[in-house]
């Protein structure tokens, strides 16, 4: 694998029953950058992301072929323990799913299941990760309270802290701001920009403006295909520089661009 590349998706095809959801997907995701996967609803963004940490394993009737290399390991065809593999990736879903336990234990959960149980150590780590997710000040006096008492925005940040606590290398975020108010959304966006120093971030969104604000690298998807990818600046600012045999696809991109502009 080239230097600076964290995830390499090669000829990925995925079927849900008869439904061909991902079609020959080839994607390169750079290390320690924010890669935004962009596209309209139903084009397979979530599915692509879930394939990356093998959550598609639990779906009924799913067929996957191709390769996904993470750190040179083909995670779709590996003997490695899948739980360890998943711990390399923190997942933020569309709406927050806090675990049914108190705030402290939500963050401690990942640490405990990987064998770190000492109270002193946990206390320190939990403060650290909650601080990282900008939540510590709001919850430091109510760590024993149930996570269900938090607001949606706070729950999403709790989920971020919980994901960071398993010490991942990659953060997978699936429209993490779609259930949030504008202020919470902005807080999450700013956090991502900060986190990219140490983490590879893959962010799914259908909001073009969000992509423009924080993307370093962009992957455009449409109807299960990747139709364009590259550095954000090239995609957004010089959309015309493309080779001849892709005129057809260019057309669809233009339509997409157009659709996005209208939607916003």
């Amino acid at each position: 694998m080239e230097k600076g590349v964290k995830i390499l998706v090669r000829d990925l095809n995925l079927h849900f029953g008869k439904n061909h959801v991902l079609k020959n997907v080839n994607v390169t995701i750079p290390e320690k950058k924010i890669t935004v996967i962009l596209g309209p609803s139903g084009c397979g963004k979530t599915t692509l992301m879930k394939t990356m940490n093998r959550l598609t394993d639990i779906y009924p009737d799913v067929k996957v072929s191709g390769n996904i290399f993470i750190n040179d390991e083909d995670i779709l065809n590996t003997q490695q323990d899948i739980t360890i593999l998943r711990q390399k990736m923190g997942l933020l879903s569309q709406r927050p799913y806090p675990l049914p336990m108190n705030i402290y234990n939500n963050v401690a959960y990942g640490l405990r299941i990987s064998g770190r149980r000492k109270k002193r150590y946990l206390d320190k780590r939990i403060e650290h990760y909650l601080t990282m997710a900008n939540l510590w000040d709001e919850v430091k006096d109510r760590l024993k309270e149930s996570a269900s008492r938090l607001s949606i925005g706070q729950q999403q940040r709790l989920c971020l802290a919980r994901g960071l606590a398993v010490d991942p290398e990659i953060i997978l975020a699936d429209e993490p701001t779609s259930a949030l108010d504008p202020i919470s959304s902005q807080a999450i966006e700013e956090k991502f920009v900060e986190l990219k120093k140490n983490y590879t971030i893959v962010l799914v969104t259908h909001i073009l403006r969000q992509a423009k604000r924080i993307a370093d690298h962009v992957v455009f998807m449409y109807l299960g295909e990747v139709i364009e990818q590259g550095p954000a600046d090239q995609i957004f600012n010089h959309p015309r520089k493309r080779s001849q045999n892709r005129i057809l696809k260019d057309c669809s991109i233009s339509i997409l661009h157009f659709a996005f502009c209208i939607l916003q």
């Binding site: 639990i58 739980t83 711990q87 799913y97 675990l99 989920c159 919980r162």
Partner: protein, 285 residues
């Protein structure tokens, strides 16, 4: 058009009101008639003594043997069914999520088993006892009742676990949990208030059923001191007292029914109080 909708709405409101009232009335009627006939015969003696000679002909004594017997039997069977049923229900909802058809087949067969009358379980237990050369005993009763309530327990738990959102399963797995960690650390906590209801439902069936224990547990006037002794149960005790031609004894049957109802009430309340402790962590998705 508006008027049409209005009438429709009104009609169904009235319908719902009447059916609700009807059900509540019938329930109240049952409870009332049990209390009306039973309370006058209910005495400390009923609760604290075993039947003396001639109890079934109106002489003194009580149904302590049946109270204790019923508690042993139904608590034993409920615990056993819980220990066996919980892993099954979790397995169906955490391990088999990928295999919808298999799970639905299992559900179908459990529903079938749920529908089999308890007398058939009783007969089945009896056949096995004869085959193994066992006598009627508390143990045989516990095993039969366990078999009889397992489908109820598993399906009731399954219905609760089904409501745990798929996203929580994904979340738990994405944190690197194994399936069993997901089952016992996440699903169990999220579903625990509902699981208590499932256990109570099964317990109610276990303590209230007469047919499954008829051949298997036997009946005795003594309180059992080991699993191999025959054991009296409240439903059977009620049955025997009701069969008596003497009115006083029949009224004692209603007093026994009051006792049975109160036991179920107490256990339900205790279980709910206990489950409230865990309820607070349930996330309302």
């Amino acid at each position: 058009m508006r008027k049409h909708k209005y009438i429709e709405e009104k009609f169904f409101r009235v319908l719902m009101f009447f059916s609700t009232t009807l059900i509540v009335m019938v329930l109240l009627l049952i409870i009332f008639s049990i209390l009306y006939k039973g309370l006058p015969s209910l005495s400390w003696e009923m609760i604290s003594q075993t039947p003396k000679g001639g109890f079934y002909f109106g002489k003194e004594g009580g149904v302590l043997n049946a109270i204790i017997g019923s508690l042993y039997l139904s608590i034993g069977a409920t615990l056993l069914a819980f220990v066996i049923g919980l892993p099954v229900a979790l397995f169906m909802n955490v391990y088999l999520v990928k295999f919808k058809k298999t799970v639905n087949t299992i559900r179908f067969f459990l529903d079938l088993l749920w529908g089999i009358p308890s007398i058939v379980y009783g007969a089945f237990g009896f056949t096995i006892m004869i085959y193994l050369g066992l006598k009627t005993s508390l143990l045989a009763g516990i095993i039969t009742v366990t078999l009889f309530i397992i489908p109820i327990m598993v399906r009731a738990m399954d219905e609760v676990l089904k409501t745990v959102p798929f996203g929580l399963l994904e979340t738990s797995l994405s944190l690197g949990s194994t399936r069993s960690e997901t089952a016992y650390k996440v699903f169990l906590k999220q579903a625990s208030p509902g699981l208590v209801t499932a256990v109570l439902l099964s317990f109610g069936r276990a303590i209230g059923d007469a047919a499954s224990v008829l051949f298997t547990t036997g009946y005795t006037d003594h309180i059992p001191t080991s699993l191999t002794q025959p054991t009296a149960t409240l439903p059977l005790s009620i049955f025997f007292q009701l069969s008596s031609p003497i009115e006083e004894v029949q009224n004692r049957a209603f007093a026994s029914a009051v006792i049975l109802t109160v036991i179920i009430l107490i256990i339900s309340i205790l279980a709910r109080l206990y489950s409230r402790k865990y309820q607070k962590h349930k996330i309302n998705f």
